[in-house]
Symmetry: C2
Subunit: 212 residues, 2 copies
Amino acid sequence: MKLFGYFRSSAAYRVRIALNLKGIEADQRFVHLRKGEQLAPEYGALNPQGMVPMLIDGPNVLTQSLAIIEYLEETNPEPSLLPKLPLERARVRAIAQSIACDIHPLNNLRVLRYLIGPMKLSDDAKNEWYKHWVTEGLTALEKSLSPAAGTGTFCHGDQPTLADICLVPQIYNAEKADVDLTPFPRITKIVAACRELRAFQDADPAKQRDAE
Amino acid sequence: MKLFGYFRSSAAYRVRIALNLKGIEADQRFVHLRKGEQLAPEYGALNPQGMVPMLIDGPNVLTQSLAIIEYLEETNPEPSLLPKLPLERARVRAIAQSIACDIHPLNNLRVLRYLIGPMKLSDDAKNEWYKHWVTEGLTALEKSLSPAAGTGTFCHGDQPTLADICLVPQIYNAEKADVDLTPFPRITKIVAACRELRAFQDADPAKQRDAE
């Protein structure tokens, strides 16, 4: 298996955590997003979206971080990254998607570049945009996690799931952008629990071979 | 089952299609997004994100359209909205997520309002933003669908899947925004095939009781 990623990409970071939790070895390849390597024709031929992560498993090309993680879950069920019951699986997926669909897509590199490029926003406006969506998203998530039956040491129960896999890279990004996390004590506590685990530690952007 | 939606919400539209394909009856409730009904405290108590769709199944509250559809798939497996093989399931989920994570979140109502509100962009700039992300996303999707083993009458094979469920509402939105779809013949053909089916027809925004 080959994982094409970039140390700062939070979507690639999610897949690194999932691989580590499942103990799957993957040969890491690096695509330098800031230098535009994702736009190279050879990469685009495999992945027309020109994004990371991309997982190559034998002759097969997989894209989209959550689809890749569901694939890893189906092909390597243990340890499981989703609970057993449909209702609990739905809760975990909803938390993951509240990050992967409603926070992260608004704040990734291509979007921030488009705001200060063609949309001609100032750096200050771009930073306001960034903090707005992170804060709004985390505010809702904190409410979802705090009173809810289901929340444990981790977002759901006492084992890390797909929800935590999405949460930790999002919080890494929020910290880099100096977002105030004090209104989110439950999230902060869950992230601290994740960071105790080797699988999360080894996936940290700063530890990747392409880190700058 | 109760589905809380809004006729123009493409995330709610996805769940309506899924329910129809599976032949599941749900009592529809309407949340008027433009009037801000999603921000009412009673709604927020159930769904802190203040978004639609929300599905109530007995005592359980489910949010996030893709999580809801995976739940419907797990609890009502036939007819299936995902293929059997993990690799094919990953392809379908990746297509769905390329829409649900990389196109739609950039162009939904709350984001467009934030662009012309706090970000002070003109209507023209907002429309340029809208068309940019739709066109970029559909360009990649057209490439993914066109040469690919797997594509059939629908995005994957000859039965509608989660991928088509995400595609049709996205194309509905693109048409409303006058995005030029002529560069996307494969997508256009697949959408036409979907629109032959009663499940897609009945889910159309114009046919909902809250349509304006």
